[in-house]
């Protein structure tokens, strides 16, 4: 066979690769081509007013969809951050790295189902009327969650309800103006280009921090053009083209979910438990700016305000903290902290000395006198905060 004929034959696999690449690429390309869906123009104030009006007048629409959370905070590979096999997405700390999927079926404030799929396992939160079940297939445990006496059940659902916004004097327009005024001091709020999220045209509100010390470039919230429901939140760091944190719908349909999703009976053979807690509220698109905080609210103290906030806390008491975390999904805090210290670089200055860990969006300073400072700010801001205390 001639050389030329051989070359032609080897063109076939090349063409096959091209066909596959084209098939994979078509989705994003189509999305890019229609990346500017046409929506009626609205200013930030009008948009916020409309959002407030929507939430005031009605509930969230019935829907089912898939939410994907992706974090690339630039954290070093720390023990406890990697997902143990069979528990994909089960640990809250594991959400800080990698990509996680969450499915949602929503029929009303007290009728919804959240599903965290794992490898040959599944975690479900199912609310049906007053009954809330937490199902963990890996542990074969069904936990019936009851809200403590005297608390309004609806206030504990992880979904925005009318209660917070429905006070009589807060008309939507007034609320929007108040939000803009309150934020105006250190945040620029604007309406960005319309985008397509999960196949739906969406407005984009861009929150840009004004302080120079902030590591966050902006936070973009995509609002469905028709239902004005948040579809996606993206956090961009300065100097990074890709979002460092993103949570949003991958697919979404505004149809009433099948009622079977909300009926749950503990299967035969499963352990059935009762626990009097409020359902976890951390599983939905929300203001991601808080996601990086190491919430040691028992000791923590916040220095500064707004985007410049720095959390100052004593290093956690490991013996107690470890036991507590073990109960909540097997995070070994001691190992985590140890890994954190190993990955950090030694620094010193007028404020003292310690170890600094820099990621794309968070700086963490562990001083030698046993304090931990963290914030979405430049190291210089941390040093100032450390010096201010000393």
């Amino acid at each position: 066979m001639s050389k030329r004929a051989r070359a032609v034959r080897w063109g076939v696999p090349v063409a096959a690769v091209a066909v596959v690449a084209a098939a994979v690429g078509t989705g994003p390309v189509i999305a890019a081509v229609r990346s500017d869906p046409s929506l009626p123009e609205r200013t930030a104030e009008q948009l916020l007013a409309d959002v407030a009006r929507t939430w005031q007048n009605g509930r969230m629409p019935q829907m089912s969809g898939t939410i994907v959370e992706t974090a690339s905070l630039g954290l070093p590979a720390l023990p406890g951050l990697t997902t143990p096999p069979g528990h994909a997405g089960a640990s809250p700390v594991s959400l800080l790295s990698g990509s996680h999927q969450l499915k949602i079926w929503y029929a009303g404030e007290d009728r919804f189902r959240l599903m965290l799929p794992g490898e040959m396992s599944e975690t479900d939160l199912i609310a049906n009327g007053g009954t809330v079940w937490l199902w963990d297939s890996a542990a074969n445990t069904a936990t019936r969650l009851t809200t403590p006496e005297g608390h309004d059940h609806a206030a504990h659902t992880p979904f925005p309800t009318r209660s917070g916004l429905a006070s009589p004097y807060a008309t939507p327009d007034r609320l929007a103006r108040q939000v803009l005024e309150a934020a105006g001091a250190d945040t620029a709020i604007s309406v960005g280009d319309a985008v397509t999220v999960a196949g739906r045209a969406a407005y984009q509100i861009v929150l840009t921090p004004k302080p120079a010390d902030s590591l966050i470039k902006d936070i973009r919230v995509a609002l469905d053009g028709e239902k004005l429901m948040p579809l996606r939140v993206q956090v961009y760091a300065k100097g990074a083209a890709e979002p460092v944190f993103e949570v949003g719908f991958e697919s979404l349909s505004f149809t009433a979910p099948a009622p079977e999703n909300f009926t749950f009976t503990p299967p035969p053979g499963a352990k059935v438990e009762q626990e009097a807690v409020s359902p976890p509220a951390g599983h939905r698109p929300r203001e991601a700016a808080h996601a990086h905080d190491h919430d040691h609210d028992d000791h923590g103290r916040v220095v500064g305000s707004g985007w410049d906030s720095v959390l100052v806390t004593a290093l956690p008491d490991l013996s107690g903290a470890k036991r507590d975390e073990d109960r909540h999904g097997g995070v070994d805090l001691a190992a985590l902290l140890d890994g954190l210290e190993k990955a950090a670089t030694p620094v010193s200055g007028e404020w003292g000395s310690g170890r600094l860990l820099r990621t794309k969006v968070v700086s963490i300073l562990i001083t030698d006198d046993g304090r931990l400072l963290a914030g979405a700010v430049t190291p210089q801001a941390l040093y100032r905060a450390a010096g201010a205390k000393g």
């Binding site: 004929a5 051989r6 034959r9 076939v12 799929p117 890996a138 009976t265 035969p268 499963a270």
Partner: protein
Amino acid sequence: MSVREIVTPARPDARDGGTGPAATARTPEPGTWRGSGAGARHLTRLLASEIALTFRRPRNLAMLGVLAIVPVVIGVAVRVASESDAGGSIVGQIAGNGLTLTFAAFAVMMPIVLPLTVAVVAGDAVAGEAAQGTLRYLLVAPAGRTRLLLVKYVNVMVFCLAACAVVALSALAAGLVLFPAGPVTLLSGTTIPAAEALLRAGVVVLYATAGLAALGAVALAVSTLTEAPIGAVAASVVLVVVSQVLTAIPQVAAVRPILLTSWWGAFDEALRTPMAADRMGRGLFVFAAYALIFGSVAWSRLTSKDITA
């Protein structure tokens, strides 16, 4: 199985001429196979003889035997252990319901045992013939190479299906003998009747077959690149192991979506309510992409290489 067995001819009907339907089917006059009726008949006969050879080889039968034994071993182990406490995972649930053993068997065997058997059969497919010196007899007609490759691949797919079916049936039988049967609890905590569980087991079998057939295409492509069958088999197994390792390293999470191995486990979507077709659909797309790319590599290589042995 030994190296020796793979390399030495183990076929009952040697392919150096001889009589019988296999020999006549494999030496058609050039061009005739294109004619619709005769071509299709030749193709069918070639395929039938290929499948018969595959399922008559002692090595392949031994592998299918191992595949049948593993679910039984899992079942017995759980039966012995369940006296105390078997735990809550899918393996632990077998004790309560024998039908669950089918799903547990796939969860245990899909990562390495099943791929290993497919790598042996597909890796040996072309390189084995080359090593035996039978390949040139199969390729007397220039147009026959494409047809031969097609038959070889269909044969690999049939073996994939047979392997998965053996695992499922063995697990089903062992489960029904060792444990009580009844409504099955899915990962979502919902309970479905036994008949629907069998249906879902069928979905798992078909999905697993598709995943293994994609590996079969890779192994077949490797098989056309060498004349040492053991090399082709080893290379395919190494590819599987390397993919599994890559899947486990978080720092290279970006490559996960394009690895075969990360989609094999998606059969667990069949065990949720509602059945999540989207992830399995994406998995099938990846499998098809692998089959297309590596199938075309195998075709280019086989149709352009000089057959000297």
